[in-house]
Symmetry: C2
Subunit: 125 residues, 2 copies
DNA sequence: TTATATGCAAAGCTTTTGCGCTGGC
DNA sequence: GCCAGCGCAAAAGCTTTGCATATAA
């Protein structure tokens, strides 16, 4: 357990958004100057393989991470602002299982993101 | 309308899988030797912006394409073989709309892929 | 001490782009 | 003849990796 790994874990614990590797690197650098982007990538991979992190792709070309701690959820991405909203819908979760089973598959994972724009924006004028 | 674009469109029309740019390039090269990967990328982007192609990400680091011709569908990816199975589930589609609306959003798109392994593999022996 | 982790820089991969040339119309 | 489109090669952006050094245990 090196100081770098400690700091990365700390940063992730304190983050309630979905940072990219670069973001984690920037936040970690403020706490521990002696850290490199390569180490961040290496550690993120370890944490993901250990089942501690979840890796997402929100369509902007970089991987985005979050800790697996709370209950499972999916994401809705505001296409105007990039904001990420989490949601859970048990019905959808169940239907995914059903669909997979009917096709002869056991579900090992899924990727489910909604993209949308806010209705009734307040800052309209 | 150049010969290159004609060939790319032809390749896409003849493909019923979800080729990456490199695949399209390879298939097109067999028909028309004088074609470059850059042209494939440029044309794919045009076709996507024109609403003729749909761009997917199945988690292998490259973009995968398919023509928008049939009804909308989602994908189930066989994590063992990479095979891609298409499916439609209206209930899920409706629930996505509902979820977005409840969060104050109008849905502009979604990304929904299931990952799984076959049940009852024949080659289990 | 000794294996493991790190930093740095180079390289890998997919995708994009600058530029001079080609070829449809 | 013009100009959109092409090929080529370089570059861009994210991520991985080789290697010598540093550090935890």
């Amino acid at each position: 357990m090196t100081s770098q790994r400690r700091v990365i874990v700390q940063v992730l614990a304190e983050s309630d958004d979905h940072p990219a590797a670069e973001d984690v690197y920037r936040r970690a650098s403020r706490i521990e100057g002696r850290i490199s982007l390569a180490t961040v990538y290496r550690t993120m991979r370890l944490l993901e393989e250990a089942g501690i992190l979840e890796k997402h792709d929100f369509g902007d070309g970089r991987a985005r991470y979050e800790e697996i701690q709370r209950a499972h959820h999916d994401h809705l991405i505001d296409v105007d602002t990039g904001e990420v909203i989490e949601f859970v819908n048990e019905e959808i979760e169940d239907l995914q299982e059903t669909v997979a089973r009917e096709l002869g598959y056991r579900l090992t994972g899924h990727r489910h993101e909604l993209y949308g724009t806010r209705i009734n924006k307040p800052e309209q004028d």
